[in-house]
């Protein structure tokens, strides 16, 4: 790798502090070359300092904050940032927004896009899993500047420790064309728990919780994890839809997934079977979820989960 191999990371917020996944993206960029960043507005001092601590020497930004529209203005700006920086690859977050920006960027630059990366090698080949984890695929962009969206938890985030203040370069925001805009936002109350898609531990409940997520939340909190759910539980209104794990909900790949009162339908498995360790608690010994469990307990979740939470609190002191 020569020192001209720049890796451009798109940073979607304007103020410090960076999120966990952004730290991971910058760490990954540093492992592949010289990290540079594109920020969709005017970054504050704190953000610049944080980017600097990741070894980012150059930050590209528009003259003013981009208008509050979805995707299109960000893609238009980012395309110009890529033209200015001439990087060997562009890295983005793998959320819906990140993928859509990547998709439009790919067309603007006539460049291939690869989503859902779990690893990016120095030759920029990308490892990802497809068909809900049934296959592990290595793919490569063959045309243009590789645009890659990277899943959370693919690398241990670390600062470079060589913090300088990055140089800021202004680029033309470009013409976004017609764009959708957000006309109303209702932020969800903070739970104090990690985000589902990024959490290292997820405890999920299904129809078996019968309206009471108390034991699920208690165990999640004992483990510092996020709370997930099956569609049966979200459809019943026991917990909000954004907790749904699966094909039409969030895909998670945590170190530990604890499934309780969930039968393990194919659409549920699609969202969790790449977890490193799966624990299942279900009172039906024939439940399909046991086929993929590393540790299964045939039992009542209302007894097993509180006992486990109590034991964890005891051991942690």
């Amino acid at each position: 790798m020569t020192d001209t191999a720049r890796i451009l990371v798109f940073i979607d917020n304007l103020a410090g502090a960076l999120h966990k996944v952004q730290h991971e993206l910058l760490t990954l960029a540093r492992s592949l070359g010289e990290p540079v960043a594109a920020v969709g507005g005017v970054p504050d001092e704190a953000l610049l300092a944080e980017l600097g601590s990741h070894g980012v020497a150059t930050v590209y930004r528009p003259a003013a904050d981009l208008e509050d529209s979805l995707v299109a203005p960000k893609a238009a700006f980012l395309a110009n940032a890529v033209r200015a920086a001439a990087p060997s690859a562009v890295l983005l977050e793998n959320g819906f927004g990140g993928k859509e920006i990547a998709a439009r960027l790919g067309i603007k630059l006539s460049s291939g896009v690869i989503t859902d990366a779990v690893a990016v090698a120095p030759d920029l080949s990308v490892t990802k899993s497809v068909f809900a984890g049934a296959y592990t695929v290595v793919a490569k962009v063959t045309t243009g500047t590789p645009v890659i969206t990277v899943k959370p938890n693919t690398i241990e985030a670390a600062a470079a420790g060589t913090g300088g203040v990055p140089q800021v370069v202004e680029v033309d925001p470009g013409d976004p064309g017609p764009a959708a805009r957000i006309i109303e936002r209702s932020p969800k109350p903070a739970t104090g728990r990690p985000e589902l898609s990024e959490a290292r531990v997820v405890v999920a409940g299904g129809r078996g919780v019968d309206g009471d997520f108390g034991p699920i939340e208690e165990l999640a909190d004992a483990l510092g994890g996020a709370v997930g759910a099956s569609r049966a539980a979200t459809d019943a209104g026991w917990i909000e839809h954004s907790a749904q794990v699966g094909q039409t909900g969030t895909t998670v790949s945590p170190q530990l997934y604890i499934s309780a009162g969930i039968s393990g339908a194919i659409q549920q498995k699609a969202g969790m079977q790449t977890a490193q360790v799966i624990v299942a608690v279900n009172k039906d010994p024939d439940s399909p979820v046991f086929e993929i469990a590393d540790f299964g307990i045939v039992g009542d979740l209302f007894k097993v989960l509180p006992q486990a939470a109590e034991e964890i609190r005891k051991r942690k002191g």
């Binding site: 819906f96 990547a102 790919g106 080949s125 290595v138």
Partner: protein
Amino acid sequence: MDDAATLNIVVLVKYVPDTQFDRQLDSGTYTTDRSESILSELDEYAVEAALQLIEARGGAKAGNKVIALTMGPAPAVNAVKKALQLGATEGVHLVDDALAGSDAAGTSLALAAAIRRLGPVDLVIAGMSSTDGETSLVPAQLAERLGLPQVTFAASLQVEDSTVTARRDGERQAETVQAQLPALVSVTDQINEPRYPNFKGIIAAKKKKITELALADLGLEPAQVGAAGAWTAVLSAEPRPARSQGIIITDEGDAGIKLVDFLASRKLL
């Protein structure tokens, strides 16, 4: 819009491997084996959303259209037929051997050309993601190529005058999103309860028009699409080793403790 009172809607439908069966990648070409295929169940929500929009405006009789568009080999026409049975007014099947192996860039190129050929369109509606490729790139790339705003992952949808409004449910916030027509929308499985085809619908579908289009009809060259025109390549594909069943115990009053012992043994505490 061609006429303020009526809607012209294109719904993207896809013929995909049934998720109830194990899905296979062909070992030679890394393309999807489609021997057990159906209309993507996520596209049924898109068809339903389109039908509800035109039904609120007097349906097909009043001049509204729902055109079901699919791209794929010969059997893919079944996805269009299913959409026609549900109530779509006509179908378009984009079929050409050169399209095999297209990535998102090639797929969106061909779909964009097909949609332009259909004349003025108010809305393009897609499902939230195909249940097979799962990359979610095609709707956004199609919107980019057609110069349309995109409203993705709509959990509800209203069209009034020339404005489309949708609600989205994110992890950090719920949002209301708005765009001017023409626009591209993708809908989630929260948006409606898809209908089942009834006998009348199945009979009526047999009389509906399905137009077949090849690349030449769209002014595209074979080298622009398919494996030849792809901007990405799959270098290798390994089936993931099947998750073997681990330890299964039956609770005898101390399973919670045993669970914690297991977590400790895996250094997960």
